[in-house]
């Protein structure tokens, strides 16, 4: 697995900035192995039964990609949004038990199991959440993106408010509605 280098990521981010729709898909695809590798690394040496938070995974991947201060603001947003989508795909694939990686290292499998567990611990059914999220995306793409960042990266709302440029109060209000809608769908 070749490791992503910062230059390649910056290139893709710039593509996204320039409105290249494929660049986003490429970045999401490229982030998946990186996130898995981070999961593997973080899980090594952990006691059994340990649970990993998705935030730790994404932070680790982010730090690995941008060892210094990281790309400027606009790019961080694209990266986080892409990471959220990548994280969602990995976890949903994993939850469905049909990971596309044939030889999934033990550490990685354990790590993803433990991330799933961390959702279960808090009572979240990921597959149902995923479906509800897809439903939401059909009529409110913006809140669907917020939901991805909130659920699959674990970003706090105030950070999302900065990333998405939505005033915090507005975001809190809209998110409370979107969340209620999603959870209502899962009842």
């Amino acid at each position: 697995m070749t490791r992503l280098d910062e230059a390649a990521v910056v290139e893709m981010l710039r593509g996204i900035e320039a409105g290249d729709a494929e660049a986003r898909a490429r970045l999401i695809a490229a982030l998946q192995p990186e996130l898995r590798a981070c999961a593997d690394r973080l899980m090594r040496g952990q006691p059994t039964g340990h649970t990993l938070q998705p935030t730790a995974l994404v932070n680790e991947a982010y730090l690995k990609l941008f060892a210094d201060d990281g790309p400027c603001f606009g790019n961080r947003r694209h990266l986080m949004v892409a990471a959220a989508t990548a994280m969602r795909r990995i976890l949903i694939d994993h939850a469905r038990g049909k990971s596309t990686f044939k030889r999934q290292p033990d550490g990685e499998r354990l790590a993803l199991d433990s991330v799933l567990l961390s959702y279960e611990d808090t009572g979240i059914d990921l597959l149902a959440t995923d479906e509800a999220l897809s439903g939401l995306a059909e009529f409110d793409a913006e809140m669907a993106r917020v939901a991805e960042l909130r659920i699959f990266v674990g970003l706090p709302l105030d950070e999302i408010s900065v990333l998405e440029g939505i005033p915090l109060r507005t975001l809190e209000r809209r998110w409370s509605v979107a969340r209620a809608w999603m959870m209502g769908r899962m009842l």
Partner: protein
């Protein structure tokens, strides 16, 4: 896949305008009182009937929502343990959730009494060693008996759950009480005591908790997780510390491995944040309790941060903002106690929780605080009646604008206030004798008055001397003409240590440009508050003679400094950055200006080199911002400039402002060697602008202390272009990735 099937029960996706309507209806509904909300959905207009099902479900969710800690936010808790009996204990209702498990109200069946049962999070104690340790800790905790500790009754394992039985304390935790008190109107009383808006109430609570901690520490038991959620307030408002010593070791392991801890890291001590487990002792609890006090008094945690990683970074690298700057209404003595508990170095904190409690007692009794901790009040009395000292204080009094007579009265009557005076002690390397003086600085770091003689360091030492509050330079002069100067900010109650390494001018002269004393026009700085309030005079500013390095400190020079002092590379140099050092991406790497330096590091280098940092005015003067008559040259510049960009002048044509390079990447691509040709007409030094950012000594505002000149992107209807913009830009003491510095030296004052 099957699990999601119920979602596809023939419902079409909402149209955006229906979604809009649904949002309105829901927000309206939840603003209604309970009974009106219950019937709201039934009375929907015909036109909104299509939304009925969604709205009902949403309101059902809303009704059921309880506080949760999941990534989803508030969630309805579905708890399989309710009604289950673990050993002798029947689980009744959940009380709250913490990092290591959930606490329930439960009934001890055999004695029919209410207790609290904490069920440890599955997995947290799954390893045998972990289990044994919890058991040991629980046993130890069960032996603790103190009125301010929640006693542990029993530790058991049943139905695959490890659980801990504690006394049930009816009441709020400190976090909730804080929130409640904060939300009150000025005159209103909280529903239950204590009123945490009263600093004395806060001091009393923390005093009680410190006594409890002291008791535990004497039994060699650490808490390790002192935070508002673990402090319960009973009906009388008496604080009770709970959750002793549990699960914290494992969480710390988690922390080092994954960067995640269960629960909040805001109250962690620096040594905990560093995960230096072998170094954690009872003083870590003292820090955490200090952090709780800080939050009670200021409404903020001593370190900020959104994410765990950020909080941990800040604990390790950001100084705690002095409490009184957060809330000037906090009594000075109490603020001082709190700050002493929060010292980064455990050796500078209270050395026992008992000492902290004693000092809080002193505060509550209106006695002089710190007396027990440092024993300086008596010495302060002696010093004040000592005539020689009095004479020495008169110039200080002049600076402070108080009369000497007032000072004597003040000194005789209010001794404890003087114990809050900042002090400076000086060590001179090589045990040399030296004259030590104090040069007060104004907001621009120009001398704010004559230098005050503090005394003579003999055999390399001048014992602690009281000095005025504020920014100043401590100037150390040996008899043979060597000197050193040390910029320090003196806050109430602090004793500042200066280690001086005086050098002669001949030793530091090489590579410095000299400037004679001169006057320049006073400008309104857009980005800085006026130095002395709004009514600042527009008198020309007189800048004393100084020398300034012609070039920024280079990578070569900085690494020589690290080698010579044995200092490790700055913490904030990431692994990626260190890789660049190992495999330089450019041949001229060592000649590039060093970057990624925070303010304290820059200061340390400068003093090591026998210099100081330049003031903002000196830097401006040296790079040609003023003409010979002292007039500001670049007054015409300005506009809607945004985003400082320090790097990239040589690539002016190429640099696309929309190109979001990381700062590190921009440095590698565009930074220029520190000693390349002077860039700005009129400048006598290299690159004071347009290369890396530079620290200056000048404080800008309350907390941030640098200013650097930079290229900015100007955005106007004509498009975006780059422009040289010479106003200061503030950063905190960390600075940015492209932050470097150069040194200067006073040639007069």
């Amino acid at each position: 896949m099957e699990r999601g099937a119920r979602l596809d029960d023939g419902q079409d996706a909402l149209k955006p305008e229906r979604w809009q309507r649904l949002q309105e209806l829901f927000l309206h509904a939840i603003s209604l009182p309970d009974e009106a909300r219950a019937t709201f959905a039934d009375d929907l207009d015909e036109a909104d009937r299509d939304l009925l099902d969604d709205l009902r479900r949403m309101l059902q969710v809303h009704q059921a929502a309880v506080e949760g800690t999941g990534p989803f936010g508030k969630l309805p808790a579905e708890d399989r343990l309710i009604g289950v009996q673990l050993g002798d204990y029947r689980i009744d209702t959940p009380l709250g959730q913490g990092g290591s498990g959930t606490v329930y109200r439960a009934t001890q069946v055999s004695r029919d009494r209410a207790v609290a049962v904490k069920v440890l999070r599955p997995g947290i104690s799954i390893s045998r060693a972990g289990y044994e340790r919890f058991k040991r800790e629980a046993l130890a905790a069960s032996r603790l008996r103190h009125p301010n500790l929640v006693p542990v009754y029993y530790f058991g394992r049943d139905e695959g759950h490890d659980y801990l039985v504690m006394e049930l304390v009816e009441g709020l935790n400190l976090r909730d009480q804080l929130l409640r008190c904060r939300g009150l109107e000025a005159g209103a009383e909280p529903a239950s005591p204590p009123d945490l808006r009263d600093p004395r109430a806060c001091a009393t609570i923390v005093r009680d908790l410190a006594r409890a901690l002291d008791h535990a520490h004497q039994q060699r038991l650490l808490h390790r997780d002192v935070k508002p959620l673990n402090i319960l307030l009973d009906a009388q408002g008496i604080p009770r510390l709970t959750d002793f010593g549990l699960a914290k070791d494992l969480e710390l392991e988690d922390l080092t491995l994954s960067g995640e801890v269960a629960g909040t890291p805001h109250y962690m001590s620096p040594e905990q944040a560093r995960a230096a487990r072998h170094r954690i002792d009872h003083r870590s609890d003292i820090y955490s309790l200090g952090a709780v006090l800080y939050e009670m008094l200021s409404g903020r945690t001593p370190v900020a941060g959104e994410t765990t990683a950020e909080v941990i970074h800040n604990i390790l690298h950001q100084p705690v903002v002095p409490l009184q700057r957060q809330n000037s209404a906090v009594p000075a003595a109490l603020a001082l106690i709190c700050m002493q508990a929060l010292r980064r170095n455990p050796a500078r904190r209270y050395q026992s929780a008992g000492a902290l409690a004693d000092d809080l007692d002193s505060f509550l009794a209106n006695r002089s605080v710190m007396a027990r901790a440092q024993g300086i009040a008596e010495r302060a009395v002696e010093r004040l009646v000592d005539r020689r000292v009095l004479l020495r204080l008169i110039p200080i009094a002049a600076v402070l604008g108080i009369s000497a007579g007032g000072l004597i009265y003040y000194g005789a009557d209010r001794v404890h206030a003087n114990s809050l005076r900042p002090r400076v002690e000086v060590y001179v390397i090589g045990d040399r004798d030296a004259e030590v003086s104090y040069l007060p600085l104004d907001g621009r770091h120009l001398p704010a008055g004559p230098a005050i003689e503090l005394g003579r360091a003999r055999d390399g030492r001048l014992s602690a001397q009281a000095v005025p509050l504020g920014d100043a330079r401590i100037i150390v002069r040996t008899d043979d003409g060597a000197f050193s100067e040390h910029y320090r900010s003196f806050a109430e109650g602090e004793t500042v240590t200066v280690t001086a390494h005086p050098r002669s001018l001949a030793q530091t002269d090489a590579g410095m440009a000299r400037f004679e004393a001169t006057s320049v026009e006073s400008r309104e700085l857009l980005s800085e508050p006026p130095a002395h309030g709004a009514a600042e005079s527009r008198e020309p500013l007189r800048i004393p003679a100084f020398g300034i390095d012609e070039a920024c400190v280079t990578n070569r020079e900085y690494s020589a400094f690290l080698e010579a002092t044995g200092k490790p590379a700055p913490d904030r140099w990431s692994p990626g950055w260190l890789r660049l050092w190992a495999f330089p991406p450019r041949e001229d790497w060592l000649e590039l200006p060093v970057v990624g330096i925070d303010f304290p590091d820059a200061l340390e280098y400068a003093e090591w080199a026998g210099k100081r940092l330049p003031t903002a005015l000196e830097l401006e003067l040296a790079r040609g911002a003023y003409d010979d008559a002292g007039a500001w040259v670049e007054r015409a510049l300005g506009g809607d400039a945004v985003g400082p960009f320090n790097l990239g002048l040589p690539e002016l044509g190429k640099l696309d402002p929309s190109q979001d390079l990381s700062t590190g990447a921009a440095y590698v691509l565009y930074a220029r060697p520190a000693r390349e040709a002077t860039l700005v007409p009129g400048a006598r030094i290299h690159h004071a602008v347009g290369n890396v950012g530079e620290w200056t000594e000048t404080r800008a505002g309350a907390q941030r202390r640098t200013k650097f000149d930079a290229w900015f992107t100007e955005v106007s209807p004509r498009g975006a272009h780059l422009l040289l913009f010479c106003e200061g830009t503030m950063f905190d003491e960390r600075g940015s990735q492209n932050q470097g510095f150069r040194c200067a030296r006073s040639l007069g004052w």
